[in-house]
């Protein structure tokens, strides 16, 4: 259980982007009620990048995140991780990809209710087949990294919003993923707590080289990111890299 999914080596041995969307389309519903959430999106993400994805509600940014995080598959087009197309992978392999290569941070934190911080953080390790003792050790380390040492036994409802989001970040990094997908991570937090979370994400990106994709609708938070992608009506409106990045 939980062994690493061996992605077959891509046939073309040219260097591939870490993540690449090629003409990706996502349609929800059928026929008359069909809604086109993504309409032919092309986008590459290189290792170590910090990308802010912005756009109005319904612009397709969250759909793009779900596809990038292997939570759902594109209706058309191709999504490749290191050049390998994801469409053809079995659900269990997708689950293992989410487990080992991605960490998720959500606007609503999405911690398990009535469960301790430590158990929440250890959850991905359990699905990776890590033994009980090792899980506890690594979860405690991850909590220390987000500054929550001493709150291991606190239940979700005993933590502030900022602390809950830090537990979520600890959960996202506990299995040492290459990519963190953060969907409005500061959306439910006041500006002081939001700034703390941003600092944490920036630190993870700079010090650990974790690739971060962050959806936000707040230009102030987006401004922290060296690369900003703006979605509108299922298309990419602009894709700007800051010179100092």
């Amino acid at each position: 259980m939980g062994s690493a999914p061996e992605l077959p080596s891509p046939k073309v041995t040219l260097r591939q982007p870490l993540l690449s969307l090629r003409n990706v389309t996502k349609i929800y519903g059928q026929q008359l009620s069909a809604v086109c959430a993504l309409d032919g999106v092309d986008m590459d993400v290189e290792p170590g990048e910090f990308v802010a994805i912005t756009g109005a509600s319904g612009s397709g940014k969250s759909t793009a995140m779900s596809i990038l995080g292997c939570l759902e598959l594109p209706s058309d087009g191709e999504y490749c991780i290191e050049g390998y197309p994801v469409q053809n992978l079995a659900p269990d392999v997708l689950a293992a990809l989410r487990n080992e290569r991605f960490g998720f941070v959500f606007q609503t934190f999405n911690l398990l209710p009535r469960t301790s911080a430590l158990e929440n953080v250890a959850l991905p390790l359990a699905y990776a087949g890590v033994g009980s003792r090792e899980r506890t050790k690594r979860a405690a380390e991850a909590l220390a990294l987000v500054g929550l040492t001493g709150r291991e036994d606190a239940r979700s409802n005993q933590l502030s919003g900022g602390q809950q989001q830090r537990v979520a970040i600890a959960r996202a990094i506990v299995n040492e993923p290459e990519i963190i997908l953060a969907d409005e991570p500061t959306g439910n937090l006041d500006s002081r707590m939001g700034a703390e979370i941003m600092q944490l994400l920036i630190g993870l990106n700079r010090e650990r080289g974790i690739t971060i994709l962050m959806v936000t609708h707040d230009p102030n938070w987006a401004a922290y990111a060296p690369r900003q992608v703006v979605f509108k009506d299922g298309h990419i409106l602009s894709d700007d890299r800051r010179a100092d990045a």
């Binding site: 939570l71 999405n110 359990a126 990776a128």
Partner: protein, 403 residues
Amino acid sequence: MTFGATLSTALGALLRNKMRSFLTALGVVIGVAAVVIMQAMGQGATAYVGEAISGLGSNMLVAEPGSPRNFNPHSSGIPMFTMADVEAIRRQAHDVARLVPINTRSLRVVYGANNRNVNAGGVTTDYFVIRQWNVVAGRLPSAEDNRRTAQICVIGETVRDKLFGTQDPIGLEMRVHDISCRVVGVLESKGTSTFGIDQDDVVFLPFTTFSRRIMGTDRVAMIMFSPVAADRLDSVKRDVTAILHVRRHILAGEDDDFAVRDPREIQSLLESVTSILTLVLAGVAAISLVVGGIGIMNIMLVSVTERTREIGIRLAVGARANDILAQFLVEAVVISSLGGLAGLGLGAAGAYAVAKVINVPYVVPGVAMPIAFAVSVLVGVIFGVFPARRASRLNPLSALRFE
């Protein structure tokens, strides 16, 4: 996910909802307890009947006048046996070890100021051998007593207590109906029979004394006999039946006006009745287990819906469909098997209590308990699969966004 982690996840989820888990398990608890109690009662009743019947003596047959299809021995108009019939059997039947003519009647016995109605019987010495019945004081009637038509008797313990109190009755004269008999022995206690008759409330006289001096008849109401060995029981039964057919002029195809019965037939009849009863009750218990299982399924379905978001989180951090399936299946099986264990305890205690109240032997339902437990586990699997599959088929994204 390892099985240990799955198990602790399931236990954690159940402990977070203690009251609900308890109520969910209750159906299985009651079902399993019912199975165990039914089985214990059935086995207890069978054991009770078996004990009572084996008290009759295990290796004997009884011929009585009357239709073999009913148990009324003295149907009007049907002739009794005669001593000539007894002699014919003695001479012609193979493998008959002991042969006893018996007459019985309810009689009044008197000693001093005490009197009492008892079951009195005229028998020969072999009667006590076949029934493996001995005296606790004095002696049994002898063949010589029978030949001399001696006015002696042996009495049961109840008769001794009621008539003689603390007095030693051996050698004392008591009145039996209208003759005087000397008590020569006191029989050992046999207790109460299957049918609730006090087997110690008896007086036995030599067959000749009883028939001639009391009944005034040369007829024989009942013939008891035993084969030389237990495996000859059936052949002896056939032999005696054939002899009595001739003696009583019954042609082939005509209905018998007598019956040769094996007391074990009564036992097997009673056993089949109790086993049918047990089956019916087990069916009722099985239904209650199914109802318990439906209860589990119902709550599991509610639980899956309620925890859709949790499932979404688990899928997002890398749970595979099978991990989710296992988690909910293990929850269902843990509920049902814990319910099963509680049911075993409750059932064993309940069976013990009922056995004490209605005064039958308590039999530990050895076979029923592992079977009932296995069924409770199976109930969890069967009724847990559907909700667990539903949980495992959720789409990660829509599960995460479920409100």
